[in-house]
Symmetry: C2
Subunit: 318 residues, 2 copies
């Protein structure tokens, strides 16, 4: 009912809708309408009530509410269904469970906070209030060896979203961080369930420091509000992000992944730079020269040979 | 209590244990011992009772009971914990869930039957009574791109187990079938949960047609009992299989995977043969010439180039 009330308020021409009109259109009493207005106010909606005019929506809370994200979203695959939480242990874990229970491609889990936000390799991802924590279920026809392609889809989508929304100039640090300067603005955690030659589903997890207080974040982290000098609407950012992910995911699905790679090259923090890459077995050093069509980083070693790297921790060498 | 009774019976010198001795050693009444004997008989244990001698274990049912598999198993990692079911939907699904709940490496799920046995690529695996349906949780330090190595570990272990137990000469059809002649004796389904550069866990699923009636199986399937002309103990086979998996898994963990590949080469149904391989994107044809250290099949195409294949359906071309 509250969503219907919001819809009527948002679609009103002059802004005002009388209690009488509400009760006629929604088929409930004016007293019931008044109660629903109270609960909307409790969530954070600013609803004005004028004696002769009725109710008017003055302000919407910047909360990742499902119906706010879906409002005029106009996506085809992504976010047909959104699970929204005030606090959750991990949006990735929740999305993984939903996917196992059969949730369809495009299902989104968002939260205002995570109590056990996950980073790569079993690390933690600081998830205080102010950030956007979002996980997305995808069901691509994909070999598990191609998973890094979807990390690139997410990274390009996040970097472009922040650029077009805020004018900031974040870059992608392969494979899964978005930086401003040397400071982390966003992390991506891609997880999957697969057999040897078939992916059952992929969870794209994205954590963005939007209006997060820097004092609540680890060293070397930054936030959009810090860089911008003011808060930015989490809802607007999330909507734009979902649209961008959809358009890049469609490129991927239509075998136009090369277009994603081209964008990635323009957004890369490491191409042309000297890097040191550590994985569980070894550390290599060389110049990051390209990303190939499989999503692997191509590094030119000092012996002149190129090496394809599929994963690892990257350090930029001065 | 029943497991303790079985232990006493199995360890008895002359076979017989009196009711009095039981009640002394286990601290319960003789009436209670008698009741437990009845429930063991109901499971299928053949227990003789002689007036002046006591109880004697004459026969053990050929059921995949946890304590029968664990009896004198002497493994270090594998099967420290076994979940045994009369019927289950899918041992892989059950093991996957247990792994998500934190079950430790080596945990085994076995069943007499599966109601929704899974094959590769969403296919079904016929799982009537008489077969061994077994799934194993592993937690290797592994990139998801290396998953096929563990399929090879399983394939080599199964083929060797059947060879040494029964004298039959099954071969491995890359990547995941064990054949006698052209008929399928065993299938392997490897599943994993992973991030881009870290595997959380792997489920090795193995289905072997042991004493299965051929009429209950699909065309082009065979069973050990069919090939051998008599039944073979599922328990003995399972114990040997678990030991073989452990020894090959240890080779893998100690970076001696090359030894597994060498064994695989000797057991391969396809090396040197002309093959047609189909994956979701294409079909290639050529000669299967080797398996490389990453577990990929190397195929020499007709144009003289070699191609590394990580997955796909293989057809032997005459």
């Amino acid at each position: 009912m509250e969503e219907e009330i919001l819809k009527v308020l948002k679609e009103s021409q002059n802004g005002y809708v009388s209690g009488e009109e509400f009760s006629k259109r929604l088929g409930v009493t004016r007293a019931s309408i008044w109660k629903h207005m109270e609960s909307l106010r409790n969530i954070g909606y600013d609803i004005e009530a004028q004696p002769h005019l009725g109710y008017r929506l003055v302000g919407v809370p910047d909360k990742l509410l499902a119906h706010e994200i879906m409002w005029n979203l106009e996506t085809k695959i992504i976010a047909k269904k959104i699970y929204s939480y005030e606090t959750i242990d991990s949006t990735n874990d929740r999305a993984y469970k939903l996917a196992e229970e059969g949730a369809e491609e495009g299902t989104v889990v968002v939260a205002e906070r995570q109590s056990k936000g996950k980073g790569r390799m079993g690390r933690r991802w600081s998830s205080p209030k102010g950030g956007v924590y979002l996980s997305l279920i995808l069901r691509p026809k994909l070999m598990p060896t191609e998973i890094s392609k979807l990390t690139l889809v997410a990274a390009v989508s996040v970097a472009q979203t922040i650029r077009s929304a805020t004018g900031l100039q974040p870059l992608i640090k392969w494979p899964n961080d978005i930086l401003i300067g040397r400071n982390k603005l966003c992390g991506i955690l891609t997880e999957l369930k697969a057999e040897q030659d078939l992916t059952a589903f992929v969870i794209l997890g994205i954590g963005i420091n939007v209006n997060t207080r820097i004092s609540l974040l680890p060293k070397n982290a930054t936030s959009i509000s810090k860089e911008l000098g003011r808060d930015y609407s989490k809802i607007d950012l999330t909507k734009l992000l979902l649209k961008n992910i959809e358009s890049h995911y469609i490129l991927f699905k239509e075998n136009k992944f090369k277009a994603v790679i081209d964008e990635w090259r323009n957004l890369s923090a490491i191409l042309g730079r000297r890097v040191k890459i550590t994985d569980k077995l070894r550390t290599i050093e060389g110049q990051a020269i390209d990303i190939d069509e499989g999503g692997a980083l191509v590094v030119r070693l000092d012996n002149g040979f190129n090496e394809r790297i599929l994963a690892g921790d990257v350090i930029l060498v001065r």
